[in-house]
Symmetry: none
DNA sequence: AATGAATGAGCCTTCATTCAT
DNA sequence: GATGAATGAAGGCTCATTCAT
């Protein structure tokens, strides 16, 4: 639609912020427009619909996420190092796309049902494959414990990372790398003192 | 309003299920009514409003949760045993109030702003005090590691547990106690093999 | 419907009071039932509908009003004495049927359109004939001024009387007869000091 | 909300007409919209709510009324001349704001209870003060009779004037000034022939 | 006579979307 | 690129009314 991708990005950033703060359904097009300093109808010069804004926010985020993940997975690291790199990369994405991540967390469950958001299901599957595969490799290589249910472990690590988007605020004391280090330390070694 | 706590509970259970599945805002009163087998307007014989249904669902859940928590906290256990008991109790609540927990996870952030849901903020504060206090006791007693950011640890444990409500299905292979055991094992000892 | 005209009258009195206080449309059947100490549905054992309650209230009142008016009109009084008697009778009716009069004032304009309330139009016509006729007789007999628009005079006297129902409270200092005397004094002789 | 006082006034005029004809409660937003030639929802582009339309209609009317009244009261006239000027001004307002006056008559009693319509109570009080004060001045100056209950006289004059809005039709034979003259003649000198 | 529960129609309001200017 | 005004569908809620018990 628009010629200027400049304005587009601005508007999407605003929309993402509002979606993240109030939820997609509870966000009215007018609230976005107010925040962006124009009238509700005017947004339709730039975007087809409210849903297409959401679409563009999520797909942009996922594209960037997979750029990072694919680089890690292609690097030929050992299982423990792979997990470390994926976690660190994830916290970096949370740092850069906090709003998009928060939206993803809250809305993806409903959205996967819509044909338009098919790519969410694809991404989730690819995601699961990457993480589960790495964990299995790690168990086989005696890097990770063999006595745990591996799906439970997968969910545990996955949730641990992404749920952080709900409270993380960029520029708030901890860098993404520092948070990643602490999380990895807990996940890998536990919080109990070794005896 | 009316007495007949029988029908009330039935309707609330239905409402909770629909709220959990589609989100509070996206849930129409008619969807609840359809599911319950009556007309939308008829729900208002039993409840004041859609919001009051949500209110009753959440407050009932929190009341029961705190009954369990308070018993644990009053038992005079050591810090590690307290954490173990709280986690186990939490998974039991997820098992019994899955829908309410899922709703709580998704909606409480917006709801705390409403005066009517003040008790959510109260509960969160009490919750934080209980968990943070136990963790601090544990660090002081050399049961938990001292090199971790304690607030980060708190969020880590808290979120790890409750996010489980998003994928947990009662009667699905693992009992709540079994899940609690595995989660505790990961959180306390880590997933890496000890060297 | 009911066998006991006792209960019927009680319920109608309650209904009239609520209709008068809040207006017919703004009055819910439940408000009446609450006031009467039963449930909304139970009123339908005694009455066909909300409208039929209104109907019975108004027709009962008009029946009594015309009993009094007809007696006056049949007495063969002079025009001035007839006006005096009609005004006095009107205030007596306001005293005895305050609620019904208030309802009549507020609602009759809309109700005349409904076939069921045809008798309101009939009554109004008969009313106008009686008053206008008396005034005309009075002008012819040089009892009333000839320089005034007679329809205007009619409306003036009519409204002067009936609008009192909006503020009149039975047992409040002035008896109906006393109020009638003062009103008649103003209407007949004016409020200005004679020079 | 919006600017364009043009359209606003049109729509308010339509709304006032419908409110006056059917009563506020019995008037549906759709009826107003139909009359105005748009859809019900479209009214909310111009107004916050049905109640805010009513508010604006009444406050606009009262503002204009008090402009006129205040001018009269500040003119330093004698009591009789003040009453004459107030009555004349009142009929002029009825002529210009017939619908608003009719609404005021029918609804103000319920509305004063609402905080939003506090100004109705204020106006009523100011109104009573102006009229009662003038009547008292007149009694003291021997312009008005001293043998009448002054509050009764006040209500009598007040209601007599305003109730005219229920039957007055602009452009119907009598000008507001002509009606005022006749009313004043009746109120001041009575309808009886002097003997 | 009255209750408890439900119906069904309608109401006020919201909101994504459209479009002439 | 944006505004102002409107559409139309849907949503939460109210209420007169019904009826088996």
């Amino acid at each position: 639609m628009t010629a200027s991708p400049e304005r587009r990005r601005e508007l999407l950033a605003t929309a993402a912020e509002v979606f993240a703060a109030h939820g997609y359904n509870a966000t009215t097009v007018r609230k976005i427009a107010d925040e962006a300093g124009l009238l509700a109808g005017s947004l339709y010069y730039h975007f087809d619909s409210k849903e297409s804004m959401l679409d563009e926010i999520l797909s942009t985020f996922l594209d960037e996420l997979w750029e990072g993940y694919d680089a890690v997975l292609a690097a030929g690291l050992g299982p423990r190092e792979t997990i470390e790199a994926l976690v660190t990369e994830s916290f970096r994405e949370i740092d850069r796309h906090r709003a998009a991540v928060a939206i993803y967390q809250k809305e993806s469950k409903h959205l996967v049902a819509l044909p338009r958001f098919q790519y969410l299901a694809d991404s989730q599957q690819k995601f699961e494959k990457a993480w589960l595969g790495t964990l299995e490799r790690g168990v086989a290589a005696h890097a990770f414990r063999a006595d745990l249910d591996i799906r439970l472990t997968y969910r545990f690590v996955r949730d641990t990372v992404w749920v952080a988007a709900s409270w993380y605020r960029p520029g708030g004391g901890h860098s993404p790398e520092e948070i990643a280090r602490q999380y990895l330390s807990m996940v890998l070694d536990g919080i109990a003192v070794r005896t």
